[in-house]
Protein backbone atom coordinates (compact mmCIF):
# COMPACT_ATOMS: atom_id res chain seq x y z
CA UNK A 1 0.00 0.00 0.00
CA UNK A 2 1.34 3.40 -0.89
CA UNK A 3 0.10 6.34 1.11
CA UNK A 4 0.05 10.06 0.46
CA UNK A 5 3.50 11.46 1.27
CA UNK A 6 2.40 13.20 4.45
CA UNK A 7 0.81 10.05 5.82
CA UNK A 8 3.84 7.93 4.93
CA UNK A 9 6.03 10.33 6.88
CA UNK A 10 3.70 10.17 9.83
CA UNK A 11 3.71 6.38 9.80
CA UNK A 12 7.51 6.41 9.92
CA UNK A 13 7.47 8.88 12.79
CA UNK A 14 5.12 6.67 14.80
CA UNK A 15 7.20 3.58 14.09
CA UNK A 16 10.22 5.24 15.67
CA UNK A 17 8.51 5.70 19.02
CA UNK A 18 8.85 2.83 21.47
CA UNK A 19 6.77 4.15 24.35
CA UNK A 20 3.08 3.66 23.92
CA UNK A 21 2.10 6.63 26.05
CA UNK A 22 4.19 8.80 23.80
CA UNK A 23 2.50 7.31 20.72
CA UNK A 24 -0.88 8.06 22.28
CA UNK A 25 0.26 11.63 22.89
CA UNK A 26 1.25 11.88 19.22
CA UNK A 27 -2.23 10.72 18.22
CA UNK A 28 -3.77 13.29 20.59
CA UNK A 29 -1.67 15.99 18.90
CA UNK A 30 -3.11 15.02 15.52
CA UNK A 31 -6.45 16.36 16.75
CA UNK A 32 -5.16 19.74 15.53
CA UNK A 33 -5.59 18.53 11.94
CA UNK A 34 -9.35 18.08 12.36
CA UNK A 35 -11.65 20.43 10.47
CA UNK A 36 -14.20 21.03 13.20
CA UNK A 37 -17.72 19.72 12.86
CA UNK A 38 -19.74 21.74 15.38
CA UNK A 39 -21.63 19.71 17.95
CA UNK A 40 -24.85 21.59 17.10
CA UNK A 41 -24.83 19.82 13.72
CA UNK A 42 -24.36 16.32 15.16
CA UNK A 43 -27.29 14.05 14.26
CA UNK A 44 -27.99 10.35 14.16
CA UNK A 45 -26.91 10.39 10.50
CA UNK A 46 -23.50 11.79 11.33
CA UNK A 47 -22.87 9.55 14.34
CA UNK A 48 -20.22 6.84 14.17
CA UNK A 49 -21.69 3.68 15.68
CA UNK A 50 -19.68 1.41 17.93
CA UNK A 51 -17.64 4.17 19.57
CA UNK A 52 -17.58 4.27 23.35
CA UNK A 53 -17.74 8.04 23.10
CA UNK A 54 -19.59 10.44 20.83
CA UNK A 55 -18.01 10.68 17.39
CA UNK A 56 -19.47 12.39 14.33
CA UNK A 57 -18.29 12.82 10.74
CA UNK A 58 -19.55 14.76 7.76
CA UNK A 59 -18.08 14.70 4.27
CA UNK A 60 -18.70 17.38 1.63
CA UNK A 61 -17.11 18.39 -1.66
CA UNK A 62 -15.30 21.68 -2.04
CA UNK A 63 -14.07 22.50 -5.55
CA UNK A 64 -14.49 18.83 -6.35
CA UNK A 65 -12.22 17.78 -3.49
CA UNK A 66 -13.05 15.89 -0.32
CA UNK A 67 -13.58 17.92 2.84
CA UNK A 68 -14.00 15.87 6.00
CA UNK A 69 -15.45 17.62 9.00
CA UNK A 70 -15.39 15.70 12.25
CA UNK A 71 -15.77 15.94 15.98
CA UNK A 72 -15.56 13.68 19.02
CA UNK A 73 -15.41 14.07 22.76
CA UNK A 74 -12.42 11.78 23.32
CA UNK A 75 -9.02 13.16 22.32
CA UNK A 76 -7.90 9.82 20.96
CA UNK A 77 -10.83 9.71 18.55
CA UNK A 78 -10.18 13.31 17.55
CA UNK A 79 -6.58 12.33 16.84
CA UNK A 80 -7.61 9.41 14.66
CA UNK A 81 -9.94 11.78 12.83
CA UNK A 82 -7.05 14.20 12.38
CA UNK A 83 -4.92 11.50 10.78
CA UNK A 84 -7.75 10.58 8.44
CA UNK A 85 -8.23 14.27 7.62
CA UNK A 86 -4.57 14.58 6.75
CA UNK A 87 -4.83 11.52 4.51
CA UNK A 88 -7.91 12.44 2.47
CA UNK A 89 -8.77 16.13 2.67
CA UNK A 90 -8.09 17.87 -0.62
CA UNK A 91 -8.05 14.63 -2.59
CA UNK A 92 -10.45 13.82 -5.40
CA UNK A 93 -13.13 11.43 -4.12
CA UNK A 94 -11.90 8.58 -6.31
CA UNK A 95 -8.38 9.11 -4.96
CA UNK A 96 -9.55 9.21 -1.34
CA UNK A 97 -11.38 5.92 -1.81
CA UNK A 98 -8.07 4.18 -2.53
CA UNK A 99 -6.90 4.68 1.05
CA UNK A 100 -6.61 1.51 3.10
CA UNK A 101 -7.42 1.60 6.83
CA UNK A 102 -4.23 -0.40 7.51
CA UNK A 103 -2.29 2.76 8.29
CA UNK A 104 -3.67 2.81 11.82
CA UNK A 105 -2.22 -0.63 12.42
CA UNK A 106 1.09 0.24 10.75
CA UNK A 107 1.42 3.22 13.05
CA UNK A 108 1.03 0.92 16.02
CA UNK A 109 -2.12 2.73 17.07
CA UNK A 110 -4.66 0.05 16.41
CA UNK A 111 -3.01 -2.62 18.49
CA UNK A 112 -2.68 -0.06 21.23
CA UNK A 113 -6.44 0.38 21.21
CA UNK A 114 -9.10 -1.79 22.74
CA UNK A 115 -11.12 -3.99 20.38
CA UNK A 116 -14.15 -1.76 20.74
CA UNK A 117 -12.06 1.27 19.89
CA UNK A 118 -10.51 -0.60 16.97
CA UNK A 119 -14.01 -1.33 15.78
CA UNK A 120 -14.90 2.28 16.40
CA UNK A 121 -12.01 3.39 14.20
CA UNK A 122 -13.00 0.89 11.53
CA UNK A 123 -16.61 2.06 11.71
CA UNK A 124 -15.52 5.67 11.41
CA UNK A 125 -13.28 4.86 8.46
CA UNK A 126 -16.01 2.86 6.73
CA UNK A 127 -18.59 5.57 7.31
CA UNK A 128 -16.33 8.27 5.86
CA UNK A 129 -15.63 6.07 2.81
CA UNK A 130 -19.31 5.37 2.36
CA UNK A 131 -20.06 9.09 2.50
CA UNK A 132 -17.35 9.77 -0.08
CA UNK A 133 -18.66 7.06 -2.39
CA UNK A 134 -21.85 9.05 -2.98
CA UNK A 135 -19.76 11.68 -4.76
CA UNK A 136 -18.31 9.36 -7.40
Amino acid sequence: MTYPAELSELIEEFKDVEDKMERLEMVFDMADEVVPFPAEQWTNQTKVQGCQSEAHVHVQLEDGKVLLLSGADAKLVQGLMGILTLAINGSAPAQALLLSPDFAEEMGILNSLSPSRSNGFRNMFDKVMKDIRQFV
Binding site: K20, L24, F28, D73, L76, S114
Partner: protein, 397 residues
Protein backbone atom coordinates in the same frame (compact mmCIF):
# COMPACT_ATOMS: atom_id res chain seq x y z
CA UNK B 1 2.89 -17.65 50.08
CA UNK B 2 1.16 -14.57 48.72
CA UNK B 3 -2.20 -14.96 47.00
CA UNK B 4 -0.70 -13.31 43.92
CA UNK B 5 1.72 -16.17 43.37
CA UNK B 6 -1.20 -18.46 42.52
CA UNK B 7 -2.05 -16.35 39.44
CA UNK B 8 0.34 -16.90 36.56
CA UNK B 9 -1.11 -14.06 34.48
CA UNK B 10 -0.02 -11.48 37.06
CA UNK B 11 3.58 -12.11 36.06
CA UNK B 12 3.08 -10.79 32.54
CA UNK B 13 3.93 -7.38 31.24
CA UNK B 14 1.69 -5.07 29.25
CA UNK B 15 3.33 -2.50 27.00
CA UNK B 16 6.60 -3.09 28.79
CA UNK B 17 5.19 -2.55 32.28
CA UNK B 18 4.11 -5.07 34.93
CA UNK B 19 0.39 -5.77 34.61
CA UNK B 20 -1.74 -4.12 37.29
CA UNK B 21 -5.15 -5.66 36.79
CA UNK B 22 -7.96 -3.48 38.16
CA UNK B 23 -10.88 -4.69 36.04
CA UNK B 24 -12.09 -7.35 38.43
CA UNK B 25 -15.73 -6.30 38.38
CA UNK B 26 -15.72 -7.29 34.69
CA UNK B 27 -13.93 -10.57 35.25
CA UNK B 28 -11.35 -11.93 37.64
CA UNK B 29 -8.13 -13.80 36.88
CA UNK B 30 -7.82 -17.54 37.41
CA UNK B 31 -5.49 -19.27 39.86
CA UNK B 32 -3.23 -22.01 38.50
CA UNK B 33 -5.36 -24.71 40.20
CA UNK B 34 -8.38 -23.73 38.06
CA UNK B 35 -6.33 -23.80 34.85
CA UNK B 36 -4.84 -27.15 35.87
CA UNK B 37 -8.22 -28.69 36.74
CA UNK B 38 -9.68 -27.82 33.32
CA UNK B 39 -6.55 -28.94 31.56
CA UNK B 40 -6.52 -32.21 33.50
CA UNK B 41 -10.15 -32.86 32.66
CA UNK B 42 -9.54 -32.50 28.92
CA UNK B 43 -6.28 -34.40 29.16
CA UNK B 44 -7.61 -37.42 30.99
CA UNK B 45 -11.35 -37.53 31.67
CA UNK B 46 -13.19 -35.86 28.79
CA UNK B 47 -16.55 -37.52 28.02
CA UNK B 48 -20.19 -36.56 27.91
CA UNK B 49 -22.14 -36.60 31.15
CA UNK B 50 -25.17 -38.55 32.40
CA UNK B 51 -25.36 -40.84 29.37
CA UNK B 52 -22.86 -43.64 29.16
CA UNK B 53 -21.67 -46.36 31.52
CA UNK B 54 -17.99 -46.20 30.63
CA UNK B 55 -15.35 -44.99 33.06
CA UNK B 56 -14.67 -41.61 31.45
CA UNK B 57 -18.38 -40.77 31.38
CA UNK B 58 -18.55 -41.63 35.05
CA UNK B 59 -15.64 -39.33 35.86
CA UNK B 60 -17.08 -36.48 33.80
CA UNK B 61 -20.50 -36.85 35.41
CA UNK B 62 -18.98 -36.93 38.86
CA UNK B 63 -16.94 -33.82 38.12
CA UNK B 64 -19.91 -31.93 36.75
CA UNK B 65 -22.30 -32.93 39.53
CA UNK B 66 -19.74 -32.18 42.22
CA UNK B 67 -19.96 -28.54 41.13
CA UNK B 68 -23.67 -28.58 41.94
CA UNK B 69 -22.92 -30.18 45.30
CA UNK B 70 -20.31 -27.58 46.15
CA UNK B 71 -22.76 -24.81 45.20
CA UNK B 72 -25.42 -26.27 47.45
CA UNK B 73 -23.13 -26.55 50.41
CA UNK B 74 -21.21 -23.28 49.87
CA UNK B 75 -24.46 -21.29 49.61
CA UNK B 76 -26.76 -23.53 51.67
CA UNK B 77 -29.28 -24.06 48.86
CA UNK B 78 -31.59 -26.95 47.96
CA UNK B 79 -31.65 -26.31 44.23
CA UNK B 80 -28.78 -25.16 42.05
CA UNK B 81 -29.16 -25.01 38.28
CA UNK B 82 -25.94 -24.62 36.30
CA UNK B 83 -26.23 -21.95 33.62
CA UNK B 84 -23.83 -20.10 31.33
CA UNK B 85 -23.71 -17.24 33.82
CA UNK B 86 -25.77 -14.58 35.56
CA UNK B 87 -27.41 -13.47 32.33
CA UNK B 88 -28.69 -16.91 31.43
CA UNK B 89 -29.78 -17.51 35.03
CA UNK B 90 -31.96 -14.39 34.99
CA UNK B 91 -33.35 -15.22 31.56
CA UNK B 92 -34.13 -18.68 32.88
CA UNK B 93 -36.27 -17.17 35.64
CA UNK B 94 -38.03 -14.93 33.11
CA UNK B 95 -38.87 -17.93 30.93
CA UNK B 96 -39.27 -20.84 33.33
CA UNK B 97 -40.93 -19.00 36.21
CA UNK B 98 -42.20 -15.75 34.64
CA UNK B 99 -44.02 -17.27 31.71
CA UNK B 100 -45.63 -19.90 33.95
CA UNK B 101 -46.68 -17.52 36.70
CA UNK B 102 -47.25 -14.00 35.42
CA UNK B 103 -50.28 -12.62 33.64
CA UNK B 104 -51.85 -9.35 32.53
CA UNK B 105 -51.59 -6.60 35.12
CA UNK B 106 -48.94 -8.25 37.31
CA UNK B 107 -46.08 -6.05 38.43
CA UNK B 108 -42.33 -6.64 38.50
CA UNK B 109 -40.29 -4.25 40.63
CA UNK B 110 -36.75 -3.49 39.41
CA UNK B 111 -34.25 -0.87 40.50
CA UNK B 112 -32.38 1.79 38.56
CA UNK B 113 -29.20 0.15 39.81
CA UNK B 114 -29.68 -3.02 37.78
CA UNK B 115 -27.25 -4.35 35.21
CA UNK B 116 -28.77 -4.61 31.72
CA UNK B 117 -29.00 -8.37 32.18
CA UNK B 118 -31.52 -7.78 35.00
CA UNK B 119 -33.53 -5.28 32.95
CA UNK B 120 -33.77 -6.47 29.36
CA UNK B 121 -35.21 -9.97 30.06
CA UNK B 122 -37.99 -8.29 32.07
CA UNK B 123 -38.68 -5.73 29.37
CA UNK B 124 -39.02 -8.58 26.88
CA UNK B 125 -41.37 -10.44 29.22
CA UNK B 126 -43.35 -7.28 29.99
CA UNK B 127 -44.01 -6.73 26.32
CA UNK B 128 -45.10 -10.30 25.79
CA UNK B 129 -47.27 -10.64 28.90
CA UNK B 130 -48.50 -7.11 29.48
CA UNK B 131 -46.69 -7.00 32.80
CA UNK B 132 -45.91 -3.64 34.38
CA UNK B 133 -42.31 -2.79 35.33
CA UNK B 134 -41.62 -0.37 38.17
CA UNK B 135 -38.15 1.02 38.83
CA UNK B 136 -36.97 1.96 42.32
CA UNK B 137 -34.96 5.21 42.05
CA UNK B 138 -31.37 5.64 43.19
CA UNK B 139 -30.82 8.63 45.46
CA UNK B 140 -28.05 11.23 45.67
CA UNK B 141 -26.18 9.15 48.24
CA UNK B 142 -26.06 6.23 45.76
CA UNK B 143 -28.55 4.12 47.72
CA UNK B 144 -32.01 2.89 46.77
CA UNK B 145 -35.00 5.00 47.74
CA UNK B 146 -36.52 2.55 50.23
CA UNK B 147 -39.73 4.57 50.68
CA UNK B 148 -40.32 4.47 46.95
CA UNK B 149 -39.55 0.76 47.06
CA UNK B 150 -42.15 0.10 49.75
CA UNK B 151 -44.70 2.10 47.80
CA UNK B 152 -44.00 0.19 44.56
CA UNK B 153 -44.89 -3.23 45.95
CA UNK B 154 -48.63 -3.18 45.37
CA UNK B 155 -49.57 -6.01 42.98
CA UNK B 156 -45.91 -6.94 42.69
CA UNK B 157 -45.26 -10.62 41.99
CA UNK B 158 -41.50 -10.34 41.69
CA UNK B 159 -38.77 -8.01 42.92
CA UNK B 160 -35.47 -8.06 41.02
CA UNK B 161 -32.58 -6.43 42.80
CA UNK B 162 -28.84 -6.30 42.40
CA UNK B 163 -26.98 -7.47 45.51
CA UNK B 164 -24.05 -5.12 44.87
CA UNK B 165 -23.87 -2.53 42.11
CA UNK B 166 -21.16 -3.20 39.53
CA UNK B 167 -20.78 0.56 39.00
CA UNK B 168 -21.00 1.93 42.55
CA UNK B 169 -19.93 -1.02 44.66
CA UNK B 170 -22.92 -0.23 46.87
CA UNK B 171 -24.30 -3.32 48.63
CA UNK B 172 -28.08 -3.03 48.88
CA UNK B 173 -30.05 -3.69 52.12
CA UNK B 174 -31.22 -7.08 50.90
CA UNK B 175 -32.49 -8.25 54.26
CA UNK B 176 -34.98 -5.38 54.37
CA UNK B 177 -35.82 -5.62 50.67
CA UNK B 178 -36.60 -9.33 50.88
CA UNK B 179 -38.64 -9.04 54.06
CA UNK B 180 -40.78 -6.26 52.60
CA UNK B 181 -41.28 -8.15 49.34
CA UNK B 182 -42.35 -11.30 51.13
CA UNK B 183 -44.77 -9.46 53.36
CA UNK B 184 -46.38 -8.29 50.10
CA UNK B 185 -46.37 -11.84 48.65
CA UNK B 186 -43.78 -11.00 46.04
CA UNK B 187 -40.85 -13.30 45.26
CA UNK B 188 -37.31 -11.91 45.11
CA UNK B 189 -34.60 -12.49 42.56
CA UNK B 190 -31.15 -11.33 43.64
CA UNK B 191 -28.55 -10.58 40.97
CA UNK B 192 -25.53 -11.57 43.02
CA UNK B 193 -22.95 -11.35 40.22
CA UNK B 194 -20.99 -8.77 42.23
CA UNK B 195 -22.20 -10.06 45.60
CA UNK B 196 -20.84 -13.60 45.82
CA UNK B 197 -17.26 -12.61 44.98
CA UNK B 198 -16.93 -10.48 48.10
CA UNK B 199 -19.51 -11.78 50.58
CA UNK B 200 -20.22 -15.29 51.84
CA UNK B 201 -23.98 -15.67 51.30
CA UNK B 202 -26.30 -18.17 52.99
CA UNK B 203 -29.07 -18.55 50.41
CA UNK B 204 -31.72 -20.02 52.72
CA UNK B 205 -30.98 -17.54 55.46
CA UNK B 206 -31.16 -14.64 52.98
CA UNK B 207 -34.74 -15.61 52.19
CA UNK B 208 -34.26 -14.91 48.48
CA UNK B 209 -36.23 -17.06 46.05
CA UNK B 210 -33.75 -16.86 43.19
CA UNK B 211 -30.09 -15.94 43.19
CA UNK B 212 -28.01 -15.59 40.03
CA UNK B 213 -24.23 -15.31 39.68
CA UNK B 214 -21.25 -16.10 37.44
CA UNK B 215 -18.14 -18.16 38.13
CA UNK B 216 -15.81 -15.85 36.24
CA UNK B 217 -16.21 -13.03 38.76
CA UNK B 218 -14.94 -15.26 41.56
CA UNK B 219 -11.77 -16.74 40.04
CA UNK B 220 -13.67 -19.47 38.16
CA UNK B 221 -13.94 -20.02 34.40
CA UNK B 222 -16.04 -17.99 31.98
CA UNK B 223 -19.10 -19.66 30.47
CA UNK B 224 -20.59 -21.01 33.68
CA UNK B 225 -22.73 -19.65 36.48
CA UNK B 226 -25.66 -20.70 38.60
CA UNK B 227 -29.21 -20.03 39.59
CA UNK B 228 -30.08 -20.97 43.16
CA UNK B 229 -33.80 -21.55 43.63
CA UNK B 230 -35.99 -21.98 46.67
CA UNK B 231 -37.22 -25.60 46.80
CA UNK B 232 -40.95 -24.73 46.74
CA UNK B 233 -40.59 -22.10 44.02
CA UNK B 234 -38.62 -24.64 41.98
CA UNK B 235 -41.76 -26.78 41.70
CA UNK B 236 -43.71 -23.91 40.10
CA UNK B 237 -41.33 -23.59 37.15
CA UNK B 238 -41.79 -24.98 33.66
CA UNK B 239 -38.95 -26.14 31.39
CA UNK B 240 -37.46 -23.41 29.22
CA UNK B 241 -35.15 -25.04 26.69
CA UNK B 242 -36.07 -28.46 25.35
CA UNK B 243 -33.56 -31.11 24.34
CA UNK B 244 -31.39 -33.93 25.59
CA UNK B 245 -30.69 -34.42 29.28
CA UNK B 246 -33.79 -32.55 30.46
CA UNK B 247 -36.28 -35.29 29.56
CA UNK B 248 -37.54 -38.39 31.32
CA UNK B 249 -39.09 -40.04 28.25
CA UNK B 250 -39.69 -38.90 24.69
CA UNK B 251 -42.25 -40.39 22.30
CA UNK B 252 -43.53 -38.91 19.08
CA UNK B 253 -46.70 -37.89 20.83
CA UNK B 254 -44.98 -36.04 23.67
CA UNK B 255 -42.32 -36.01 26.36
CA UNK B 256 -42.05 -36.07 30.11
CA UNK B 257 -39.40 -34.09 31.92
CA UNK B 258 -36.85 -34.63 34.61
CA UNK B 259 -38.00 -33.39 37.97
CA UNK B 260 -34.63 -32.24 39.31
CA UNK B 261 -32.31 -29.44 38.11
CA UNK B 262 -31.59 -31.33 34.88
CA UNK B 263 -35.02 -30.15 33.75
CA UNK B 264 -33.37 -26.76 33.15
CA UNK B 265 -30.08 -28.00 31.74
CA UNK B 266 -30.94 -29.13 28.23
CA UNK B 267 -28.11 -30.33 26.03
CA UNK B 268 -24.48 -31.13 26.80
CA UNK B 269 -23.50 -28.85 29.67
CA UNK B 270 -20.27 -26.99 30.52
CA UNK B 271 -18.35 -29.88 31.99
CA UNK B 272 -14.79 -28.53 32.01
CA UNK B 273 -16.06 -25.21 33.33
CA UNK B 274 -17.93 -26.92 36.18
CA UNK B 275 -14.77 -28.77 37.12
CA UNK B 276 -12.77 -25.55 36.93
CA UNK B 277 -15.30 -23.81 39.15
CA UNK B 278 -14.98 -26.59 41.76
CA UNK B 279 -11.25 -25.91 41.85
CA UNK B 280 -11.94 -22.20 42.32
CA UNK B 281 -14.19 -22.92 45.31
CA UNK B 282 -11.58 -25.26 46.79
CA UNK B 283 -8.96 -22.55 46.35
CA UNK B 284 -11.17 -19.88 47.90
CA UNK B 285 -11.93 -22.13 50.85
CA UNK B 286 -8.28 -21.84 51.87
CA UNK B 287 -8.61 -18.05 52.32
CA UNK B 288 -10.02 -15.96 55.12
CA UNK B 289 -12.49 -14.16 52.85
CA UNK B 290 -13.76 -11.84 55.58
CA UNK B 291 -10.27 -10.63 56.32
CA UNK B 292 -9.52 -10.24 52.61
CA UNK B 293 -12.68 -8.25 52.04
CA UNK B 294 -11.82 -5.94 54.90
CA UNK B 295 -8.41 -5.39 53.34
CA UNK B 296 -9.88 -4.74 49.88
CA UNK B 297 -12.58 -2.31 50.98
CA UNK B 298 -9.84 -0.49 52.91
CA UNK B 299 -7.86 -0.14 49.68
CA UNK B 300 -10.92 1.06 47.77
CA UNK B 301 -11.73 3.61 50.47
CA UNK B 302 -8.16 4.91 50.38
CA UNK B 303 -8.26 5.23 46.57
CA UNK B 304 -11.61 7.04 46.75
CA UNK B 305 -10.19 9.46 49.34
CA UNK B 306 -7.14 10.17 47.19
CA UNK B 307 -9.36 10.85 44.18
CA UNK B 308 -11.57 13.23 46.14
CA UNK B 309 -8.47 15.05 47.34
CA UNK B 310 -7.60 15.55 43.67
CA UNK B 311 -11.10 17.02 43.15
CA UNK B 312 -12.15 14.00 41.13
CA UNK B 313 -15.81 13.05 41.72
CA UNK B 314 -16.24 9.48 43.00
CA UNK B 315 -19.50 7.56 42.58
CA UNK B 316 -19.84 5.31 45.60
CA UNK B 317 -19.50 5.30 49.38
CA UNK B 318 -17.24 2.31 50.28
CA UNK B 319 -18.84 1.20 53.50
CA UNK B 320 -17.82 -2.03 55.18
CA UNK B 321 -20.19 -4.30 53.22
CA UNK B 322 -19.70 -2.61 49.83
CA UNK B 323 -17.45 -4.09 47.17
CA UNK B 324 -14.00 -2.74 46.32
CA UNK B 325 -15.12 -0.88 43.20
CA UNK B 326 -14.13 2.75 42.63
CA UNK B 327 -15.98 4.61 39.86
CA UNK B 328 -14.89 8.14 39.05
CA UNK B 329 -14.94 10.81 36.39
CA UNK B 330 -11.83 12.84 35.65
CA UNK B 331 -12.68 16.54 35.29
CA UNK B 332 -10.30 17.25 32.41
CA UNK B 333 -9.38 13.94 30.74
CA UNK B 334 -12.00 11.95 28.83
CA UNK B 335 -12.58 8.52 30.40
CA UNK B 336 -11.67 6.69 27.25
CA UNK B 337 -8.42 8.60 26.81
CA UNK B 338 -7.61 7.98 30.46
CA UNK B 339 -8.13 4.23 30.11
CA UNK B 340 -5.80 4.14 27.08
CA UNK B 341 -3.17 6.14 28.93
CA UNK B 342 -3.42 3.78 31.91
CA UNK B 343 -3.12 0.81 29.56
CA UNK B 344 0.07 2.24 28.12
CA UNK B 345 1.56 1.90 31.61
CA UNK B 346 0.25 -1.63 32.24
CA UNK B 347 -2.92 -0.77 34.20
CA UNK B 348 -6.21 -2.44 33.22
CA UNK B 349 -9.23 -0.29 34.14
CA UNK B 350 -12.68 -0.17 32.66
CA UNK B 351 -14.55 2.73 31.09
CA UNK B 352 -18.01 3.20 29.70
CA UNK B 353 -21.56 2.66 30.89
CA UNK B 354 -20.75 -0.72 32.52
CA UNK B 355 -24.01 -2.18 31.14
CA UNK B 356 -26.02 -0.03 33.54
CA UNK B 357 -27.27 2.84 31.43
CA UNK B 358 -30.38 3.64 33.52
CA UNK B 359 -28.15 4.11 36.57
CA UNK B 360 -25.80 6.45 34.72
CA UNK B 361 -28.74 8.38 33.36
CA UNK B 362 -29.92 8.85 36.94
CA UNK B 363 -26.43 10.00 37.95
CA UNK B 364 -26.50 12.42 35.02
CA UNK B 365 -23.35 11.06 33.37
CA UNK B 366 -22.65 8.89 30.35
CA UNK B 367 -19.89 6.76 31.82
CA UNK B 368 -17.19 6.42 34.44
CA UNK B 369 -13.69 5.07 34.80
CA UNK B 370 -13.83 2.08 37.11
CA UNK B 371 -11.01 0.52 39.09
CA UNK B 372 -12.07 -2.66 40.86
CA UNK B 373 -9.91 -4.59 43.29
CA UNK B 374 -9.87 -8.30 44.07
CA UNK B 375 -8.07 -10.87 46.19
CA UNK B 376 -4.67 -10.58 44.48
CA UNK B 377 -4.54 -6.77 44.40
CA UNK B 378 -2.34 -4.96 46.90
CA UNK B 379 -2.13 -1.56 48.56
CA UNK B 380 1.10 -1.06 46.68
CA UNK B 381 -0.77 -1.40 43.37
CA UNK B 382 -3.35 1.11 44.59
CA UNK B 383 -0.56 3.56 45.40
CA UNK B 384 0.96 3.05 41.95
CA UNK B 385 -2.45 3.64 40.43
CA UNK B 386 -2.82 6.98 42.20
CA UNK B 387 0.78 7.97 41.37
CA UNK B 388 0.14 7.13 37.72
CA UNK B 389 -3.06 9.13 37.72
CA UNK B 390 -1.20 12.13 39.13
CA UNK B 391 1.47 11.81 36.41
CA UNK B 392 -1.16 11.49 33.67
CA UNK B 393 -3.10 14.45 35.03
CA UNK B 394 0.03 16.58 35.08
CA UNK B 395 0.95 15.65 31.52
CA UNK B 396 -2.47 15.48 29.87
CA UNK B 397 -4.95 17.17 32.20
Amino acid sequence: MAIRDDFPILKREVNGFPLIYLDNAATTQKPQVVIDAMNEYYTSSNANVHRAVHTLAGEATEGYESCRNILKSWFNADRAVLTSGTTEAINLVAHAWGRANLTDGDVIVLTEMEHHSDIVPWQMLAEERNVELRYVPVMEDFTLDMDAYAASLEDAKLVCVVHTSNVLGVRNPLEEIIELAHSNDALVLVDAAQGVPHERIDFKESGADFMAFSAHKMCGPTGIGALLIDADVFETMQPFMGGGDMIETVTITGSTYQTNEHKFEAGTPRIAEAIGWCAAFDWMATLDLKKEHKRLIGIARWVAEQLREMDIPVYGRHEAKDSAVVSFLHPSIHSEDLAHLFDSRGFAVRTGHHCAQPLLTRLGISGTVRASFYLYNTMDEAKQFIEQLKDITERFG
